[in-house]
Amino acid sequence: MCIFRHRFAFILLLVILGACSSGESELPAGVDQKVFRYSMDSAPTSLDPVRASTLYANQLVVNLYDTLYVYKYLQRPYELRPNLATAMPEISPDGLTYTIPVKQGIYFADDPAFPGGKGRELTAHDFIYSLKRHFDPSTRPAGAWLWQGRIVGLDEWKQAGSDYAQEIPGLRATGSHVVQIRLKRPYPQLVDTLALGFSGVVPREAVEYYGREFSINPVGSGPFRLVSYDSSRAVLVPQENFRREVVDLEYEGYDAATQSQYGVALIDGRIPPFIDQLEIYFIKEGSARWSSFTKSNEIQYAGLPNEQVDRVLVSTNPVTLNPGYAEQYHMKTALEAGFVFSTFNMDFPEFGYNDDPERERRNHALRCAMIRGFDWESRNDSWYSGIGKVFPGIIPPVVPEYDAGLSRDSVIYDPEGARSLLAANGWNTATLPVLTYGTTPGPTSRLFFEQFRAWMMRIGYPKEKIVLKTYATFGDIAKAWRNSELPLISKGWGLDYPDAENTLQLFYGPNASPGSNDGNYRNAEYDEMFRQAGVMLPSPVRTDLYHRMNQLVIDDCVAITGLSRVGIALWHKNVIALPDRNFVGGRFMYYVDVLDPDAPEVQALR
């Protein structure tokens, strides 16, 4: 026999044994530990706040790092409150200078990055350093656009080579614990941006100590610290240096009428975090998440997957759990802070702007016909359990400026109307332009395409004129969007803050490719109104401007829009929480308590 083979097998064995013993350290036995097992549908890529561009990264980042402001745990609509800041900012009358006092006695988590391994105190300088990192290309920042062209001297600082030793006039510490921001023009959404994961405060020592791997070695002042992290799960434990703050339920916006059923009143007057360990599982497939959730000892939180709806719900309007499930789980429907839509690329002369005014007019009719031929209700039924909210225009229902009274004509399925509109404008199988539909691989996106194609065929589009183009990676299709290579862009937009400005900018002319205005919509009237509204604080006037802009997009038939998904979140009865995937986001986990399933408090909730 071959001795080498034996030896190799032996080495393999050693490796396996090594791997076994290096597995997660289980919690000490015998002690009653509280573990919250949360699940998400994807793994975050980077835990560095400057790159926390995804929902998934944000859920972790806001637990590992602290921001100056956060949204109140229970208040709906969402409302900001100070977090690292001692108060809401002091804003100068011209709206250009923000003075923010920072709490004393906040400490970063202990880490080898610090001298002696002890976390040091957080100061205003740390915040300034953290914001500057968004303007340092070497960090590959993803959130700089939120402050670009807004803060005095910040863009110039980047132009000059991002030298951290250099002071920035508009971003200064006026004391060790006071931040002062000076703006070029009013930016009412600034405070909202300071509650984003992007604004998490990082210590410079850790960034320098870990170099590129800072992204997987987070060191912050948040309520938790990371114990282990791979592509399948992250394990966090309470951060020892985190401040002890008592929960004031009333201040957090508790509403007994809608929230008492979740038992969140139980945390009033107590000091979070209440759990000993936070485990976040990244499970891509909804069905796998679901079956893990329904086992009593695995994940305790999951969204209800589309395909389980018939089994689990008695009805979808209103959403009602099957009694068997209602006994075991808390349920909450949550309207997403975002929406899915498709926008035509107006730079394509076949569909959008054209030098020939007549053709441009016909193109307008073509777009309007395609919008009428798009069956939102079917899409909602197939993919969103029929409970998603279909709405006209680009102001989604989640924001306060949503106009419930807006005409729904643009979202009503009308294939006959579409056909006659096409016929009236000289469109037939021969003249209709080829439409390239871009997707990334995957069964869902392909079925989306097939649905779209079938609808377009119903309004008279020939099958072979709707062409599928598959991009190998998300990056590749994003490149096609940014470089204006596709006539139709289908995507979802997640709002960064609860203000319609965040979606209206998607059609703002100066944001054209490679910016976020993928449709390259350019309308001088729209752009002017956007600029006007941009410097205004929330007011009826501003809301009116928003509504007029919305109507322009609808009238110009720029986009097939839209639908805000409604998620059905379920969590075990003994988990005391109000989960959130919008603006509070992952921060809700700070308030989670896990009780004994047989405890009387839990029984009372059943």
Partner: protein, 295 residues
Amino acid sequence: MSARAEVAVSVGAHGDSLWSKALRKFRRDRVGMWSLAVVLAYAVVALGVVLGLWAGDWADVSGPKWAPVSGEYWFGTNIIGQDIFARSLYSTRTAFEVGLVVALGATALGAVLGSTAGFFSGSWIDEVIIWLMGVLDSVPFILLVAAISYTLQGSPWAMHIAMIATFWIGTARLIRGEVIKLKSLEYVEAAHAIGVSRFMIIFRHILPNTFHILLVQATLSFVAAIKSEVILSFLGLGVKDGMSWGLMISESTFEVLAGFFNNFIAASVLMFGLVMAFNMFSDALQDALDPRTVK
């Protein structure tokens, strides 16, 4: 074993060409004949799709969501209301398209490069071809497909090309060995002596004598292509526009745990039938063409 060899000699006493003998042997192989019939039945289904006789409406979404099996929808419908029966039939066409393109491409490439390497064995041409085979063999298959699919920018042929780029190697190795054996035979040397060009020697005199190997290799590539398609489509590297069993199975991955088995069962049973029949057919073909077996 010499006892068997003796028997073989006495049975094979009637002089016969390899092909007519193989045909006779194959005809007697009941399993082989049955599997051929099954394969042909699938081929008819595929041909019908090509001719537009059926499954033309596979892309229609007018059915209800996840309809159960019924008289109207024989295999039920999928999440967007497409008829799974029509999709299954259409996928048969895709399977034959993928199988045939890859089998022909890989076998042809393997034959050309393998015979060239064999004919020039020992020279640099041979070295280069062997090196190429080694290189392609060392890149994990799925990575190679992914890489080719990047380079071809999502072309629908990326999968076919990637499969051909890997599947030819096995054929080429066999052909190379066979050609090295054949080229020392007298008639080849005779052709050399009377000044027949190298090209002609390879393609007129040597390659035809490896045809039985090529035939078997082509059937193996066909099966391998259909099976790979499933996995590649699941990983998003397979069939782009159109419908295939692989796409149906990849769709089913999010349905089966919720108890919707129609896509999964339709695609996997149909695929299993074709692959199994083709495997059996390939086996029977090998037996029939193998001069060593007397069966």
